[in-house]
C-alpha cells in the first residue's frame, strides 16, 4: 500500500522490508479470521450455539493453514527478503504524526503466528471436549477467538501503537476467560486482579509510546529502530525500562507476577493457551522485537536480566510448594518465562534462544496444562495433587503425553526443553558466572518440582475420594495432547540442529554473538543434567518413596512462604491495596465533606448571614431610622474620606 521498499536497519545488516504481495498480502486475514469468529459468536447470540464452537475452531485452523503457507513461502525467500509490510489504512493522522493499521510479517512474527495458531487451534479442539457441557461455551469460544485475533495483532503489528492494541486485546480476552466462571466470586476477583496488574504494566507501554512519539515522531518499528541510534542514551534507557515494565506485567515477571497464580481460575484450556503458551510470552516478544533499543542500552539489558533471573528463581521456589496442580504449573511458567527474559536480556547473545525456549515451552507447557486439564476432567475438577496419585493407569494417554512434557521441561535430552534451556544457561554463564549458577540452580529446582508434580499425580498410591472415578478423556482432548507431546519431543532438535532458529531469526535480531566460555560446552551440559537428576532424585525420595499425606504438612518457614507466593499478595495488599482503599475512602470523605462541604457551607453561611441580617429588620420604625442615620454617616464619611 505504501511506497515501495524502505530500509529497515538491523544490527545484522540490511534488512529489506518489502510490500506484502501474494500470499503475504493475506496477512490481515490471519487476524480477521479469528476476529470474525469472535464477532459472529459474541454478537450472534443463541442462534450460533450449535455451530459456533466448531466455526471458531475451524477459523483458527484456517488461520494456521494460511500461516503455514506463508511460512513455506517465506522459507523460499532469501534470508534478507523475509520481511513483508502491509498497511491497511491510516488510523490516526495528526499533522506530521500518524499511525497506520499496518502489519509486518517477518521471521519473528512468523514464528509467533505459527505458535499461536497451532497451539491455539489445538486448544480449540481440546476445548470442544473439555467445555462440551458448559452452557456458555459459545461465549467461551468467542473469547478464545478474540484472544487469538488480539495475539496475532500483537505479533503482526508494525508499530507500537498497534502492538499496544493487541496487548490490551489479549489482556481483555484474558480477563474475560479468567473470569469465565465468575459466578464464583474469587474467580471474578482473580480476573480483575489480572487485568489491573496488566494495566500497571501498560503504563510502561503507554509511556514508551509517548516517549517514542516525542523523540522520533513515530511509533513504527522501522522509524523507531532507525532513529534510536541518534537518540540520547537516557531516552534509550528510559524506553528500555518502560518496555520492560510492560513486559513484566504481561509476562508475570517480578514485580508484577502476582496475578498469574490466581489466573488459574480460568478454564484449563485458557491456562494452556494464554497463561502458558502465548500471551504470557508477549513480554519476551516485546523485548526481542525491540532489540535495537536494548542493544543500545546496557542499563536496560541489565534490568531485564535481573528481572529474568529473579523471576526464574522465584517461580521455581513457589512451584515447589504448590499442591494445586495448575498453580504449580503456573509457577513453573513464571519461572520458564524468567529464563526467556533472562535470555532476552543478554542481548544479541540471547534473543534467538529466548524465542527458541519460548517456542519449545509453548508446546510442552501447553501439553502439560492440557494434561492437567485432562486429569481434572477425569477427577471431577479436583486440583489438589494430594488427592491424586497413581493415575497413570487410569489415564494412560494423559500420562504419556504429560510425561513427555515433563521430560521436556526438566531438560532431559533429547526432549525439546533440553536444547533451548541449555542454550540459555550457556549464554548466561558466558555473560556472568553467577547468572549461570542461578540458571543452573533454577534447572535443578525445576526438575524437583516437576518431578513432584508427576510423582504426586501419576505415581504412588491412589489418594482420591471415594466417589471419584478417574477416566481417560475423550478423543477431542487427547489428540491435541498427543500432538503437543510430539512437538515436545522433536521441536527442540529440529530448531536446534544447524542453528536453524538462530539463522531464521537473524534478519530480525541480528546474528548471534559468539560467546566465550571458560569450560567446554559438554561439561556444562553434563553439569546441568546432573543437577537436574539431583532434583529428580530429591523429589523421588520425598514423594515417591514416602507416602504423600493428603493433608499438607506444615512445612518449613520457606515452604510456607513459598506456598503463599512469598507473601506477594499480602505485600501488595498491605502496601497498595489497603492504603489505596484508605486513600479512596478518605477522598470520598474529603469530596463529600470538605469540597462539597465548603460549597454547602458557603451556602449555609450566606443563609446564616441572611438569617442574622434579617434580625435587623425589627419592625421598629425607629430602628430603621437609626440605620438610615448610620447610612448617612457612612455616605458622608466616604465622601469626606475621598477628599482627604
Amino acid at each position: 500500500m505504501n511506497a515501495a521498499a524502505v530500509v529497515h536497519w538491523s544490527e545484522g545488516g540490511q534488512q529489506v522490508v518489502s510490500d506484502a504481495t501474494g500470499v503475504f498480502g493475506l496477512t490481515w486475514l490471519l487476524i480477521a479470521l479469528p476476529l470474525l469468529g469472535a464477532v459472529v459468536l459474541l454478537l450472534g447470540g443463541r442462534r450460533t450455539n450449535s455451530f459456533g464452537p466448531l466455526l471458531a475452531t475451524a477459523l483458527v485452523g484456517v488461520a494456521f493453514l494460511l500461516g503455514l503457507v506463508q511460512f513455506l513461502q517465506m522459507v523460499g525467500e532469501p534470508a534478507a527478503d523475509r520481511s513483508f509490510a502491509q498497511s491497511l489504512f491510516t488510523w490516526a493522522p495528526i499533522g506530521d504524526f500518524s499511525v497506520d493499521v499496518g502489519f509486518q510479517l517477518d521471521p519473528l512474527s512468523m514464528a509467533f503466528v505459527l505458535l499461536v495458531t497451532f497451539v491455539g487451534g489445538l486448544v480449540h479442539v481440546y476445548s470442544l471436549g473439555y467445555m462440551a457441557n458448559d452452557p456458555d461455551r459459545r461465549r467461551f469460544f468467542g473469547y478464545l477467538n478474540l484472544f487469538v485475533a488480539s495475539m496475532l495483532l500483537l505479533v503482526l503489528a508494525s508499530n507500537y501503537v498497534l502492538v499496544y492494541v493487541g496487548w490490551e486485546g489479549v489482556g481483555l480476552a484474558s480477563y474475560l476467560l479468567i473470569g469465565f466462571w465468575n459466578a464464583k466470586a474469587e474467580y471474578a476477583t482473580a480476573a480483575k486482579k489480572a487485568f489491573v496488574m496488566n494495566r500497571v504494566g501498560d503504563i510502561g507501554m503507554s509511556l514508551a509510546i509517548m516517549l517514542m512519539v516525542t523523540t522520533f515522531g513515530t511509533t513504527a518499528f522501522s522509524g523507531v529502530f532507525s532513529g534510536v541510534e541518534q537518540a540520547s542514551s537516557g531516552v534509550v534507557l528510559a524506553m528500555g525500562l518502560l518496555l520492560l515494565l510492560a513486559a513484566t506485567g504481561k509476562s508475570a515477571q517480578l514485580p508484577l507476577q502476582a496475578w498469574l497464580g490466581d489466573a488459574m481460575a480460568g478454564p484449563t484450556p485458557v491456562s494452556a493457551l494464554i497463561h502458558a503458551a502465548t500471551m504470557v510470552t508477549a513480554g519476551v516478544y516485546l523485548i526481542v522485537r525491540s532489540n535495537p533499543i536494548f542493544d543500545l542500552s546496557d542499563g536496560a539489558r541489565l534490568a531485564v536480566v535481573l528481572v529474568g533471573v529473579l523471576t526464574l528463581l522465584f517461580g521455581a521456589f513457589v512451584g515447589t510448594a504448590k499442591d494445586d496442580i495448575k498453580k504449580a504449573l503456573a509457577a513453573s511458567t513464571m519461572s520458564q518465562i524468567g529464563y526467556m527474559i533472562l535470555a532476552a536480556g543478554l542481548g544479541p547473545a540471547g534473543y534467538a534462544f529466548a524465542i527458541f525456549h519460548l517456542l519449545t515451552h509453548g508446546f510442552f507447557k501447553a501439553g502439560l496444562f492440557l494434561g492437567a486439564g485432562s486429569v481434572m476432567h477425569g477427577m471431577d475438577d479436583e486440583v489438589n495433587m494430594r488427592r491424586y496419585g497413581g493415575l497413570r493407569k487410569a489415564m494412560p494417554i494423559t500420562f504419556i503425553t504429560f510425561f513427555v512434557g515433563y521430560l521436556a521441561i526438566i531438560g532431559i535430552p533429547p526432549f525439546a526443553g533440553f536444547f533451548s534451556k541449555d542454550k540459555i544457561i550457556e549464554a548466561a554463564l558466558a555473560d556472568n558466572v553467577w547468572l549461570g549458577v542461578a540458571a543452573i540452580l533454577g534447572a535443578g529446582i525445576t526438575a524437583f518440582y516437576m518431578s513432584r508434580v508427576v510423582f504426586m499425580t501419576f505415581f504412588g498410591e491412589q489418594r482420591w475420594a471415594d466417589d471419584v472415578h478417574p477416566h481417560e478423556s475423550p478423543r477431542s482432548m487427547t489428540v491435541p495432547m498427543v500432538l503437543l507431546g510430539i512437538g515436545s519431543v522433536v521441536l527442540g532438535y529440529v530448531l536446534y540442529s544447524g542453528s536453524r532458529i538462530v539463522l531464521w531469526l537473524e534478519p530480525v535480531v541480528g546474528p548471534e554473538e559468539e560467546h566465550e566460555l571458560g569450560i567446554p560446552v559438554l561439561a556444562i551440559t553434563a553439569i546441568i543434567i546432573a543437577v537436574t537428576l539431583v532434583g529428580v532424585a530429591i523429589a523421588y525420595s520425598m514423594y515417591l518413596r514416602k507416602p504423600v499425606p493428603v493433608q499438607a504438612p506444615l512445612g518449613t518457614v520457606v515452604t510456607r512462604a513459598a506456598r503463599q507466593d512469598f507473601y506477594q499478595d499480602a505485600f501488595n495488599e498491605s502496601v497498595f491495596m489497603r492504603p489505596g482503599q484508605y486513600l479512596t475512602r478518605f477522598l470520598v470523605f474529603f469530596d463529600n465533606r470538605v469540597i462539597d462541604g465548603f460549597v454547602n457551607g458557603s451556602a449555609a453561611l450566606i443563609g446564616g448571614g441572611s438569617a442574622r441580617l434579617r434580625r435587623w429588620q425589627t419592625g421598629f420604625v425607629r430602628s430603621y431610622a437609626l440605620s438610615m442615620l448610620a447610612g448617612a454617616v457612612l455616605v458622608v464619611g466616604v465622601l469626606v474620606l475621598v477628599r482627604l
Partner: protein, 522 residues
Amino acid sequence: MNDFPVLSILGLLPFAAAVVVGFLPHGRELLAKQIALVVSLVMLALTVAMAISFEPNAAEPFQFVEKTPWIEQFGISYALGVDGIALVLIAMAVSLGPVVILAGWNDADDNERHRPQTYFALLLALLGTIVFVFAATDLFLFYVAFEVMLIPVYFLIGMFGRGQRTYAAVKFLLYSLFGGLLLLAALIGLYVVSARELGTGTFDWTLLAGMPIDPDTQKILFAGFFFAFAVKAPMVPVHTWLPDAAASATPATSTLLVGVLDKVATFAMLRMVIPIFPDASEWAAPFVVTLAVISIVYGALVAIGQTDMYRLIAYTSVSHFGFIILGIFAFTEIGGSGSVVYMVAHGLSTAALFLVAGFLVKRRGSSLIPSFGGVQRVAPLLAGFFLVAGLSSLAMPGLASFVGELTVLIGSYQRWPVAAVIAVIGIVLSSLYVLIMYQRVAQGPETENVKGMRDAVPREVVVFAPILALTLAVGIFPKPVFDVVNPAIERTYSFLQVAPVEPEVPVGDVTTDGAATDGEDS
C-alpha cells in the same frame, strides 16, 4: 457553501417541536414521543447531510455561515457557523438525540407530577440549545445559548429526577450560574477591550480571535472565562455539582448533561479561550495542566470509592474531563485533536454507561451498587452491554476512547512530560473503577436482588446498538474525524506563540506508516 440555513434549522426545529410537544393534550403521550423521535432523526439526517458537504481543508474558518445583525448597538449578531470541531461535536450530540429519546421512552410515564409531553419538550429544547451553543460564532449568542441551556436541564432534573432532585437541580443551576455570570462579566470586559482595540466593540469571533490584548487584561479575562468553563467541565475542585446532578437525573438527562452539555466547556476552551487569550492561556497552562492532572487522578480515586452507579459514572467523567483539558492545554496538535476525539468518545462512552446503568436501575429500583450482584446470570445481554460500556470508559483499544486517550497522552507528553506521566496512572485507576463496579453488579453468584430480572428488551438493544457502532467506528477508523478536526486545531493553536513540538530525532521519511504525506494522498 450554499444559502440553505442548515444550522438555524437544526437549532430551531427542535424548539418548534418542543412547543408543539409541550402543548399536546393529555392522552397524546405516545404522539409526543413519536414527534420527538422523528424530529431527532430529522436532525440527524440534516447533520449527516451537513457533514457530507463539509470541506475539511477550506480556507475560511467557518462553514455553513449565517449572519444576521441582532443587537447592532453592541455589535451583536446572530451568527452561526461550524468548523471541524463544532461539526464533530454537533454530530455527536445529534447522534445521541434519538438514542436518548428512545432510552427515555418510558422515563416520564409513571411520574405523578409531570407529563411525558413536558419531558420530551424539554429534551428537544435542550437539543436545540446544544446546536446553538456549538454553532454560535458570536460570543454573545454563545453566551445566551450557554445560559439558556441550563433551564431545560434544570427542569429535567427537578421535575423528572429522583432522590434529592430538587437539591441537585438547584445546585446544578447555581453552580452554572455562578460560573456563567463571571463569564458574562469577562465577556463584557472583552467587549470593552474590543471597542478599544478595534474601534467598535464586537462579539464576533472572527474579529476577536487573535486581537491584541495587553497581557494583564488577558489574564483577568482569561480567569473569568476559564472559571466558568472549569465549573461546567467540571474540574476539581468545582465539580461537586455533577455527582449530585447525575445521581438525581434520569439517565437520558445525565447522558445529555455529562455527555454533551459539559463538552461545551472544553469546546469553548478550544474555540474561545485559546484563540482570544493566547498569552494568558500560555501563562496559565501550567496551572491548568496541574488542575487537569489532579482531576484525572482525584476523579478516578473518588469514583472507586462510590457506591452509587450514577455517582460513580459522574466521577469517572471528572477524570475524563481532566484528560480532555490536559490535551487541550498541551498546545500540541496531537493533544488538541486527541482531546476533540476524546470529547466525542467520552460522549459515547458516558451515554453507554448512563443508559445501561439506567436500564439496570429501572429494573431494580435502586442505583446502589450493593443492591445488585450476579446480573450476568439472569440478564447476560444487559451485563454484556454494561461491560462494553465500561470497557469503553476505560479506553479499551478498538473503542473510541482509546484513540482519544492515547493521543491526548502523547500530545501532552510532548509538552508536559511530568503531567502525562502522572496522568497515565489514570489508566490503571480507570480499570479499577470499571471492573470493581462490573464485578459487584454483574459477576458473582446470582443474588436475591436480581432474581427474575428481565434481560434487555428490543428497545434497549436498539438504544445500545448505535452507540456501540459509533464507538467501534471511531475506535477502529478515526481518520475521518481527525481529518475534519486537524485543520481547526491547527488554526486554534496558530494563535499561540509557543513553539510547536518537534521530534528530537525526526525519522518521518523512513517510516512505513508515519510519512507526512499519508494523510492526503493514500
